[in-house]
Point group: C2
């Protein structure tokens, strides 16, 4: 059973049921425009990550501003995007189970599908699935540029996989996946820049090696919201896989900009709207948004518009705020929380409540399903 | 859109799509029986917490073994339970928004409904909703016995609220809600016992004060899986609100028993089944279960059946295992993970895949919807 939408279109803020996942449309649209402009200005392709928003509606808005398609992490997510009108999806991840590969190959009859690999036998599997469905799948070799998660080492190991891709029926060698996830939340600007510079050295050397062997990288993809300014201007990467820029969460807001101030290229456009359900202690306000309304592996959410209030601890269904003794919050009052980490937070909700006009005077303008919520397989 | 079930009934383990939320039915049934026996033996009522499992199927199995009903935390959760055949629900939480109270009062036409309060005006609201729908709602006064979240102070403040409940139309004074959440994961047995003893002192004094004013507590409710042995034998609490005992997670397994060993009253019966998707580095196995398959505020999951393997870090869709250099895990191999914290983990999944016969020879016996998944409002 899906949950019903938490509001009606046209409703004022105080009529939104909580906890609700709310998009501030004005801020969201400014974020989308800013990144689209950046990509255009620097001549790089934009392929936003749909694992973050899980919504074909958002994806199509990004594409209307120039994005070439989206990234996904899972086959089920890719299916939702294609069914929702996205015609170019890169699964920026490994897919190894045979039935998942068959689903992906079948999907390639309806959209352009690319995928990443870091294993020899996996290339054979993908080739077999593509051949079975009579499709062509573009395959990128994933190179470990510092995240130390998936991906083969740069240089020779990447070359060998690339050659295997290029020689496999049903597959096209697409280039390199070189996302440096571990660099995204390095707080210091200089250290982030240094991490990406190191990655670029590996990518450049590997690209040159591949070139010497007659393999051209149509795509060199990577970059997240924390590092896009580096890959996007370095003349090496040509496809940006940014996700969080559309919404901005607490974790990215803790990054530092070049001048040492907060990283504020983008505005907070995503909120968990909660309400106060207990004021039994003067310095505590308990809200109804806890571990099932957002996730806490990146720390606590930030509280907006309530001076001196701090979200100090979650439980499953409660969020405890520490508030000044003279705080006027009363039972039922709405509280705007900025999620610690937008991707897993979004994945907890079935609906985006899209508000136009700000956090006090705003009205609900749209209700968008989080269509790929739970599509993690 | 709901996600499709990750397996077919009758399928062997290797045919379960991943990530999947799996119940080991044999262990699960032993857990249910053990707690039911405990409650019978000690003459206390059992009212398991459905916020943990979010399934009326599980609830009815608990009731078939003697439970009097369930607890819920949210109105939407209570609705799912009642619609699924549970006829006695305590919302062990505050409900303050008027439309939520109306829904709860309407539900009370179809089942016995109780609720907790810690605010005067809220009692008036509940009374008005009950009157409007012509129902009676049992109301418990929530007393803060150490969790420092919701709840009024013991003694006089609890008395005043109780008197107000007892004199309000449409309401029945039900007793005291005295759950000590903060004590559940105190690791030391002696310190847990001391925390509950302190709570019992407050509860006893308050019960006696209420009695002096002619108010009898039909219910004194509390206790979680970490402390049930204390409240359940103390002759003061008469209703246990345990949840996690049915599944057991890592966080509870880190508690210590009286002899200093692991707290092992119950067996691990809930797993996230994952598969290996990358082995590009000999000492790393990357699985497909990360921040969207379970939550990490209580630390890392435990890996079963893979000697020397340790889950070291999650990302949104990846779980990185550190493994010995001679580890034989290969792409596609299934890995059984014990969730760090069962409640928010369950809330991420649409289906329980129920397996009989263990982690190697087992077969899928049932597919149960996590019917109240996302019902957090």
């Amino acid at each position: 059973m899906n949950t019903p939408p938490p509001a009606a279109i046209g409703a004022p803020i105080e009529d939104i049921d909580t906890p609700a996942l709310v998009i501030d449309l004005d801020a969201f649209e400014r974020n989308l425009n800013k990144m689209a402009q950046f990509a255009k200005q620097h001549g790089v392709r934009l392929r936003p990550h749909a694992k973050m928003h899980k919504s074909p509606i958002v994806a199509r808005k990004q594409m209307a501003l120039g994005a070439v398609g989206v990234c996904c992490q899972k086959v089920s997510e890719a299916e939702v995007m294609v069914h929702g009108g996205v015609d170019d999806v890169l699964v920026s991840n490994q897919v190894v189970l045979p039935h998942k590969l068959e689903r992906l190959a079948a999907l390639a009859r309806h959209a352009k599908i690319s995928i990443c690999v870091d294993d020899f036998d996996n290339i054979t599997q993908i080739s077999q699935a593509a051949t079975k469905f009579g499709v062509n799948i573009e395959v990128l070799v994933e190179v470990n540029v510092g995240a130390n998660r998936c991906g083969v080492a740069p240089g020779e190991p990447a070359l060998k996989l690339s050659q295997k891709i290029a020689s496999s029926p049903g597959l096209t060698f697409g280039g390199m996946q070189a996302y440096h996830g571990a660099a995204q939340h390095v707080r210091s600007f200089d250290e982030r820049r240094a991490a990406i510079a190191k990655a670029e050295d590996m990518v450049r050397a590997t690209r040159d090696l591949l070139r010497q062997h007659g393999l051209e990288c149509r795509t060199i993809g990577g970059a997240g919201t924390g590092s896009y300014g580096f890959e996007g201007t370095g003349k090496l990467y040509n496809e940006l896989q940014v996700g969080s820029y559309a919404f901005m969460d607490v974790d990215y807001a803790k990054n530092r900009a070049q001048d040492g101030g907060a990283f504020n290229d983008f505005e907070h456009a995503l909120f968990v709207l909660a309400h106060v359900m207990s004021r039994a202690t003067p310095t505590v306000a308990v809200t109804d948004a806890g571990l099932k309304a957002m996730t806490f592996e990146c720390g606590m959410p930030w509280v907006r518009d309530v001076p001196g209030a701090e979200y100090v601890s979650p439980s499953d269904e409660h969020g405890k705020l520490s508030v000044p003794a003279d705080c006027t919050l009363k039972l039922g009052d709405r509280v705007w929380l900025i999620p610690p980490h937008c991707d897993p937070c979004v994945n907890l909700h079935d609906w985006y409540v899209c508000v136009r006009g700000g956090r006090t005077q705003g009205r609900v303008e749209a209700l968008w399903p989080v269509a790929a919520r739970g599509m993690g397989f």
